[in-house]
């Protein structure tokens, strides 16, 4: 058990250090980028007196390092401070955007799994044959299409064929869960397409490597059919190495996809970040970056645990965890 404690401790330490580095980067960015938050909020015909009043109110006058330290103190006690642009607590703003970003991320992750796994299995079943070439080329074309072109085309196509496809009718999950899933389906597909190509490429490679391992030959010599060998031996083994790729994809998704949110007019995290940068909102940007770093480390942490569960070789103390 002691083994696990040190493992978790080192992961937590890694999270703290990443957060420190990231917040330092944000702080450095803010001390360099031109533009002052107050004049952004009040527009060009605001009077100097007005600007001064707002700066005082938002505490923009104290030196940046002081604001950074107070933000840091707040971050570690769980209070991320208030956003200067929206006047609302940063935590509340981020949480208000999570349903969209989480919804999009997990829906597209499901799409990635549902589409890339079967296609990878089929194409690695008979490498080099028609299906393999077909999926590989489609994979790379879908990788090359810019996201917003994909989104726009999909809207045009679905609205022409199905008449109306709930674009923009974003529904709170609390109010009507199915409406929520339904309106996120198409954007999730657009987010998922490049990720599907990536997952497919990786899965196909790992299945092919597992296929010419000796244990496959052993099972064959015992009379198992190809399908049984694929599902009982090859897939579990290639899953182990696929977990790292999937965790990278998931942490990428959780960062919010700005372009799809923009085209589908979904209030996700990507757009909030762009607005925060546009309005030079230091607490909000640091809050979002804090969330991103935390998400990344948590996802990798879960990936490690999943790996330990799947692969006994990784478990330090033999059979039991």
């Amino acid at each position: 058990m002691k083994e696990r404690v040190t493992y978790i401790l080192s992961r937590v330490l890694e999270l703290v250090i990443t957060l420190l580095i990231v917040s330092l980067l944000t702080f450095a960015a803010f001390s360099i980028i031109p533009g002052d938050t107050a004049s952004v909020l009040l527009g060009i015909n605001a009077s100097p007196a007005q600007l001064e009043a707002l700066r005082e109110k938002l505490g923009l006058n104290d030196p940046l390092w002081y604001r950074y330290l107070s933000w840091l103190k707040g971050a570690f006690t769980g209070d991320l401070g208030d956003s200067t642009a929206f006047g609302k607590p940063v935590a509340e703003l981020i949480v208000s955007r999570l349903p969209v970003t989480f919804g999009l991320s997990f829906l597209s992750l499901i799409l990635v799994l549902v589409i890339s796994y079967p296609s990878a299995v089929i194409s690695s079943g008979k490498p080099g044959k028609f299906w393999d070439q077909f999926f590989s080329v489609i994979g790379h074309v879908s990788f090359a299409i810019p996201p917003f072109v994909l989104s726009l085309i999909s809207i045009l196509v679905t609205s022409k064929i199905f008449g109306y496809f709930g674009v923009g009718k974003y529904v709170e999950p609390s109010k009507d869960f199915f409406g929520y899933v339904y309106c996120l389906l198409l954007p999730a597909f657009c987010v998922a397409v490049p990720k599907i190509a990536m997952a497919f490429k990786f899965l196909r490679a790992s299945i092919l490597t597992e296929k010419n391992n000796d244990y496959v030959r052993t099972s064959k010599s015992r009379g198992l059919s190809n399908i049984k060998i694929m599902f009982r031996h090859i897939l579990p083994n290639s899953n182990v190495s696929a977990i790292t790729a999937l965790s990278i994809i998931l942490s990428d998704l959780l960062g919010g996809s700005l372009i799809v949110e923009q085209v589908f007019n979904l209030p996700g995290l990507g757009r909030l970040l762009l607005q925060a940068i546009g309005r030079r909102d230091f607490p909000l940007i640091s809050g979002i970056v804090f969330y991103l770093a935390a998400m990344m480390v948590i996802v990798y942490f879960l990936a490690d645990i999943l790996m330990n569960l799947c692969d006994p070789r990784l478990r330090k103390n033999g059979g039991n965890i």
């Binding site: 080192s10 030959r217 099972s219 015992r222 009379g223 059919s225 799947c310 692969d311 070789r313 033999g318």
Partner: protein, 532 residues
């Protein structure tokens, strides 16, 4: 006990690859009687594995069966559909392979690995399956079968894994077992126990065995009858004993002599080290090992426990021990690759050369031979003009028996033996006082191995460089070294002149090593061995 009727008859089977066209097997025919152990011998590439795979119908995709029949239990296997063949595989014919390390699914316990054979062919209740597997594991030599069933493949040694595979192949009491080089990647002691296991199983289950190997001397002692194959044809057959001792067929004779590396023919002589001269290497109560664990807690795993020995200038010393006794750790400590915890090693910086076991990995694939030879000089800031450098390189190549034109070549264009010799040439560039050869022969075929040995002894003779030869092959040590150290779990248990130690072993470890060697490589002049 061998019965009269045939279990398997192969009638003029021929096979070729779609892409290449030249025949891999041209109409070979042989048969196996019930309960008989038939050996199938030949150098790599003669088609022996292909024969086995065609029996089980596991040929690679682009292999084509041109003609022939494989009659097993009165019906021709080649006619059977894939589904019908699946019933035969694992039930009537079992198979085990060369590499035990990767032949088991790493994610599944031993029990799960074996259970699939039963679930595939029979539908028995869980308890019956558990009990059958338990009995079989016991039969192949495991004591606490309950615990072994729960263990994972990576927790077992090579030998144990091969036993599990044998258990898997024999679970349903097959009529025929095909063993494709089962022992060639195991050390001598474990190989011996595996072969004995197969023999006893064959007798008990009245099972016949098709044993495939490239090492004639092992097969001689173990099989009833032997077939010798050369380029897809069966060139010689007969019972094992007379094939080994008075081989009629010239090819068989040649195979035999290569496999046994007769020291007499090599007539190696060594310069006689005078005891007064100082040592090339002095190691005094060395402790070394590996530290694992990250930043905070360093976990020390000590492998070498206060070991000391010394090598005199110009002396050739052998180091033997079963795998896992710390030989590699010792070499790394001597070369300075790992810092010892305590004890001292005389400074060998720049005065030491190493020859590694694996010929594929001993040279950097990205650079030419010339670059390799120039690298040691560059590393030690020895300034030389362009043609001086070339001359030194050519001398080194000549001294290892290679000619100039390979200077521009890449390692991928050289054979295993040639690469090993370029590595030796690299060491010679610095004119080291000591060369450590870590298992230089085990990965090479016997003839190129013999030439490497001759080269080492020549270097020792002409340049007076002392050599530390590490090997698990006692005949090589007996032929090539004057002094020998025997190691066991991190300590030297016995040392002395090679002749005395290998003829009158004092410690248990040396005796076990010698015993394994005699049973595996039956040596014609038997009388040389102690017969207590």
């Amino acid at each position: 006990m061998i019965y009269a009727d045939y279990i398997l008859e192969v009638k003029d089977l021929s096979l070729d690859f779609k892409s290449e066209g030249d025949k891999i097997l041209n109409n070979i025919s042989f048969n196996i009687r019930k309960g008989e152990i038939l050996g199938l011998i030949g150098n790599s590439g003669c088609g022996k594995s292909m024969t086995a795979l065609s029996i089980l119908g596991l040929l690679p995709k682009d292999a084509r069966i041109l003609s022939g029949q494989v009659v097993f239990d009165k019906n021709d296997l080649l006619e059977k559909t894939d589904r019908q063949m699946r019933e035969v595989r694992g039930k009537d014919i079992g198979m085990i392979f060369q590499e035990p390390y990767t032949a088991l699914d790493p994610l599944k316990t031993v029990y799960k690995n074996l259970e699939e054979v039963l679930t595939e062919h029979e539908d028995l209740t869980r308890e019956v399956r558990r009990e059958m597997i338990g009995k079989m594991l016991e039969r192949v030599g495991f004591e606490n079968t309950g615990d072994i069933m729960k263990r994972y493949p990576h927790e077992l040694s090579g030998g144990q894994r091969q036993r599990v595979l044998i258990a898997g192949a024999c679970l349903l009491k097959p009529k025929l077992m095909i063993a494709d080089e089962p022992t060639s990647s195991l050390d001598t002691v474990t190989s011996m126990s595996i072969l004995e296991l197969i023999k006893s199983l064959c007798a008990e289950l009245r099972m016949s065995v098709l044993f495939i190997s490239h090492d004639l001397s092992i097969v001689g002692n173990f099989c009833d009858r032997v077939l010798v194959m050369k380029k897809g044809n069966i060139v010689d057959s007969g019972n094992a004993f007379d094939l080994l001792y008075n081989p009629q067929n010239p090819y068989t004779a040649e195979l035999l002599s290569n496999s046994r590396l007769d020291p007499k023919q090599l007539d190696l002589e060594f310069n006689k080290p005078s005891f007064s001269s100082e040592c090339a290497l002095k190691v005094t109560d060395l402790c070394a090992g590996y530290t694992s664990g990250n930043g905070f807690r360093k976990e020390r795993k000590e492998i070498i426990h206060n070991l000391s020995f010394k090598i005199l200038k110009g002396e050739v010393v052998g180091l033997i021990g079963s795998s896992g006794c710390g030989k590699t750790t010792l070499t790394r400590a001597i070369c300075g690759l790992i810092r010892p915890y305590s004890g001292t090693v005389t400074d060998t910086k720049g005065k030491l050369g190493v020859v590694f076991q694996d010929p594929i990995m001993c040279l950097n694939p990205a650079h030419t031979v010339m670059w390799h030879l120039a690298e040691p000089l560059r590393a030690n800031k020895i300034k030389m003009s362009k043609d001086e450098l070339k001359k030194a390189a050519v001398d080194a190549l000549v001294s290892v028996g290679l000619d100039e034109n390979i200077l521009g070549r890449h390692p991928s264009q050289l054979s295993g033996g040639q690469r090993q010799r370029v590595a030796i040439a690299m060491c010679l560039m610095l004119n080291p006082s000591l060369i450590i050869a870590d298992e230089p022969l085990s990965a090479l075929d016997t003839s190129s191995g013999a030439r490497i040995l001759k080269l080492l002894s020549q270097i020792n003779k002409e340049r007076g460089t002392s050599i530390l030869l590490i090997s698990h092959n006692l005949r090589v040590v007996r032929a090539a070294t004057t002094y020998v150290l025997v190691m066991d779990n991190g300590n030297i248990v016995e040392d002395g002149p090679t002749k005395n130690v290998l003829s009158h072993p004092k410690t248990e470890v040396t005796k076990k090593l010698l015993l394994a060697e005699t049973t595996l490589h039956m040596n014609p002049d038997r009388q040389q061995f102690m017969t207590e």
